[in-house]
């Protein structure tokens, strides 16, 4: 086997390494990973994929809708907050993951974000995490009335919407990369 791979370049990993990654996906019940650049176009295709997959698996309409709606907001936030990777920025690709475990669905994302967006985002996340269903409903109404169209911080109504639909705590962290950028990771748990 090895001797027929004379075309393998130095940066091409052995198949066994990919197999190891596959096993990891199996262990953690990860169904889909997309790593790269997120745009409107790509988001549309990711959504279409997920919709089709869940339909094929006869997932309950209600759960499907919840996951789908959360994904829309999540992906939109990712493309809105997108940091163009240049020579001056850290080279960290954005990633989106979809997992299922027992009766739970996990939506995960991680992407670069400019440091000036951290505070409003963190505040919003902590705020939604502290509210119950009623509180979230009220907050949603309040923000919808007062938010401006120019709110590009991603800390607007999207996060509130995600929290309402997830009906669970939004887990997140920020990891500083340099003076201007950090890595923002988000994990959303949806119980069927």
């Amino acid at each position: 086997m090895e001797n027929s791979i004379n075309k393998m370049t130095p940066n091409q990993r052995p198949l066994s390494q990919i197999s190891a990654f596959h096993r990891l996906m199996d262990e953690k019940d990860i169904a889909l990973v997309y790593c790269g650049e997120f745009s409107q176009e790509l988001n549309k295709t990711l959504l279409a994929f997920t919709e089709r997959k869940f339909k094929a698996e006869n997932l309950e309409d209600n759960t499907r809708r919840r996951i789908f709606n959360i994904m829309v907001e999540l992906l939109q936030n990712m493309s809105k907050n997108k940091v163009e990777i240049t020579e001056d920025t850290p080279e960290v690709s954005a990633i989106f993951m979809l997992g299922t475990h027992n009766n739970e669905f996990l939506l995960m994302s991680s992407n670069m974000i400019s440091n000036d967006k951290i505070q409003p985002l963190k505040s919003r996340l902590d705020q939604v995490n502290s509210l119950d269903k009623e509180g979230l409903k009220q907050l949603y109404k309040d923000v919808r009335l007062t938010s401006s169209f120019n709110d590009t911080s991603g800390a607007g109504i999207g996060i509130i919407d995600i929290a309402r639909k997830a009906e669970s705590r939004l887990e997140y962290n920020f990891e500083e990369l340099d003076a201007r950028y950090s890595l923002f990771s988000l994990l959303i748990r949806i119980v069927n």
């Binding site: 198949l15 990973v33 089709r52 997959k53």
Partner: protein
């Protein structure tokens, strides 16, 4: 934040690291029905169109993706091991990589190994004649005589097919295939 959440968040970074190291952009694991194959193709096609590869390269990659995916829908075995079907794509300076994997019955392993080894020793012309022979001689039953799909994958990539069989139990192996289309 509880420790489970912390672990989960760290896990996202690990996956990113693995994806980057293996130069992968898309990774799917799970059921593989025709519906899901079509959905994956649409997603992959989008990714493919983002590259600036020649259109003939793109259509070759597309062919390879279809054959890999449809091989899985046709030949995949259900296994209680929780090892599910895999499909991953990525690209780098070397070219475009398509990786697919599925569970197969033990009694299919030797045959499959022989076929791939055989294909891997053939030249472009030999593969062409081989293809012409089998297209005439296979019955159209859905499960092909030799595996036109494998022959076409080899022809389209122009590279040896890299494969692996991992034993799961007495009756099952996990078969993985990696193909590279140069650009």
């Amino acid at each position: 934040m509880n420790t489970q959440a912390q672990e989960d968040l760290k896990f996202i970074s690990q996956v990113r690291k693995d994806m980057n190291e293996n130069q992968l952009m898309l990774s799917y694991r799970g059921d593989m029905s025709h519906e899901i194959v079509m959905a994956l193709l649409n997603l992959s096609e989008r990714n493919l169109n983002q590259t600036n590869f020649d259109s003939s390269i793109k259509s070759r990659v597309f062919s390879v993706m279809v054959e890999c995916l449809q091989n899985i829908t046709q030949h995949s075995e259900k296994s209680e091991h929780g090892r599910s079907n895999m499909f991953m794509i990525g690209f780098s300076e070397s070219g475009y990589m398509v990786y697919s994997g599925n569970v197969v019955k033990s009694d299919k392993v030797e045959e499959l190994k022989l076929k791939i080894t055989q294909i891997n020793t053939m030249s472009e012309d030999e593969l062409k004649e081989f293809y012409k022979f089998w297209i005439k001689n296979e019955a159209v039953t859905g499960k092909s005589g030799f595996g036109l799909g494998l022959i076409q994958i080899a022809r389209k990539t122009g590279n040896p097919l890299e494969y692996d069989f991992e034993q799961l139990d007495n009756d099952h192996y996990f078969f993985s295939l990696r193909t590279l289309v140069d650009h």
